[in-house]
Symmetry: C2
Subunit: 440 residues, 2 copies
Amino acid sequence: MIDHRHLRVALLGAGAVGSQVAALLLKHGDELADRAGASLQLAGIAVRDVDAPRDVDLPQELFTTDAESLIVGADIVIELIGGIEPARTHLLQAINSGADVVTANKALLATYGSEIFDAADQVGAQVYYEAAAAGAIPIIRPLRDSLAGDRVQRIMGIVNGTTNYILDRMDTEGAEFSDVLAQAQALGYAEADPTADVEGYDAAQKAAILASLAFHTAVPLESVHREGITAITTQMMDAARHAGYVIKLLAVCERLTGQDSPTGEAISVRVYPALVPRSHPLASVHGANNAVFVEAEAAGSLMFYGAGAGGVQTASAVLGDVVSAARRHIAGGVGVGESTRANLPVLPIGHAQTRYQITLEVSDQAGVLAHIAGTLSEGHVSIATVEQTVIAEDGADSGRARLVIGTHKAREQDLSDTVDRLADSDVVERVVSVLRVEGD
Amino acid sequence: MIDHRHLRVALLGAGAVGSQVAALLLKHGDELADRAGASLQLAGIAVRDVDAPRDVDLPQELFTTDAESLIVGADIVIELIGGIEPARTHLLQAINSGADVVTANKALLATYGSEIFDAADQVGAQVYYEAAAAGAIPIIRPLRDSLAGDRVQRIMGIVNGTTNYILDRMDTEGAEFSDVLAQAQALGYAEADPTADVEGYDAAQKAAILASLAFHTAVPLESVHREGITAITTQMMDAARHAGYVIKLLAVCERLTGQDSPTGEAISVRVYPALVPRSHPLASVHGANNAVFVEAEAAGSLMFYGAGAGGVQTASAVLGDVVSAARRHIAGGVGVGESTRANLPVLPIGHAQTRYQITLEVSDQAGVLAHIAGTLSEGHVSIATVEQTVIAEDGADSGRARLVIGTHKAREQDLSDTVDRLADSDVVERVVSVLRVEGD
């Protein structure tokens, strides 16, 4: 046995992820020590209530409510409390007391990332956060390090397991959103308050983190356009299937070049449900799995696939960070800060360009199509495909038709103005849906 | 502009990858400097012939035949010569003169990895080799760092683009191996001498590298079992398709627990064509693409997908390593050595356990199936499925039948002994094929 250095690890939080991290650290301690070149002593676990029930059995004497004392003297602090406070205060304390920190806290990083990274830079500490985006999938190191010599053009990520589970079941079973959500809640795939997932807040936080890394730019969470999946109906699912698409909640992070951006090179970061061609690798991401599809100038297309959540899965990513932090302690040197010097402007959603699928109910009379085509053309929206179906009512012609219009790439602002004009038009009875198309 | 440190980069080799590395380093130098926190000066490119034609235009004054002088005084040395010598000597010189080294040389690492890593450890240098396995796909950092806190159970990788291209075309077009190989050579997907690819040598080198990382064990190339794809026929492809499989050349790296291994925990590393269920994510890896499927105790199933070769794609991985090396130079500290302390024994192929599909031609007479079932049973090979088809010849019963036997998991040694006995049996006219089944 090599004479190891000895590192003290403080764990903050013992929820679904934290309790698994503690259990694995205790179970595989010798193995991790061999890999890290240092023994990793779990010095304690700070929790609000030392007597609360845990997912796994852990030695009672490790628990404490005194996070501050635990942090003092720790070499590595693992923050798995979640949310903003007290996580933020504890992380900053840990950094300022000389520890390297490991966190899975996407809300905190997406909101106070710059403050935390700056604090770490000041003292030469390192912040590790592989678990903060896409759970167990190694995506932080690939973006931060492996692709640091390349130019990422675009990321399309399925980064929220709950919504992918819901959309996948709606697609495969023809089930209603509300029914699948209720079942997902019963199975523990969705929270009692599902807002963070189904309204895209969780995905938006991850998008901000991924875009920051990919484009070497601090991306504020407020600049991420966000739409959820609550408006997705079985009708939209059926229509998507019919047209060769599947609906996925995507986090899209895109580099816009001069011609697509009024300010020179810029980026767009957005979360919304989109039509993805069935042949695209992201279309085969089923259940609660996550995947991140990356297009880079030199590397071409890459995809990273795996479990996006789950206590033990996420614990894997956290422990990988702990080993990295330990190795860095042994190797010496200061932490490598975040690369944010590209500092690209994040453009509002109006500048994004995608293809769209617009579904309208219109009066089924002569000249309607010409009128609508004219409105689209005036709005700088170019038509790629049109499919018209007469709507039958009680077996008889209803006098109305359904029009599904696929567009070429258009600016979001142009599209949205045009749809407003269509909605006001006398011949359009109803705008059934407007969906972006990504990945083709 | 921040006052950067200044790092000298020496490039050895200007082939398909090297010339792209040089071009991108010159084109995106400012951007890379921002990310690295250091300006990266391409000090020179060592080649055998300074006047040889290159894939891209590069300033002639950068070229030199004097690699040794170029290495002296370089902070980062990129070795893209390939092969063993002079690459090995140059890499060791670079390490001993205080440089960090970046290499894509799988042959060198699979053969002399221990020597090179030890030399780096001695002086505190770091060896980066993201491009040495699966080209542009970030797989080294995920295994080395992200999964360092987990226990990898198994890797199944499509790590050779040429063979995947050939097998994919054989599968989709029903083409013969030799015809597809000839076309692949014409298109530049296969070398004039295709041995390294089609006989599995290239994949075996990558398997040794991946297994070393995944199992924290120095895996000697000689311990990797290797079979190529030259014996794969269109008949085997058709039969595989009929049974719901596709044939892929896989690099399998597997942890064997006590009950499957005579020596306690051990590993098995092997490269061979195998039947993969059509529903497995690896089955949808088409063309010259690569993918690495990883199963880990905590993280579950992960997949990494992308371009496995190509000059500019591989250059992406090399430049990511260059940025990492530069960041480490700025941060200070010594290099983090390879984690090889688990030092697990690598068992010979006889201990591997998989399912098999055995195809036989037998005399179509009473008692044959019972006889064959008896032989399998005596050999500790358990039958899962049997399909018997009478072979017609000129429209008449030939008196022979084709038997496709799917087995449960069996030890390779038991299976191979049993197949030998079957081949010697009077009722077996011919052993048509024996294929392993992986991924179900």
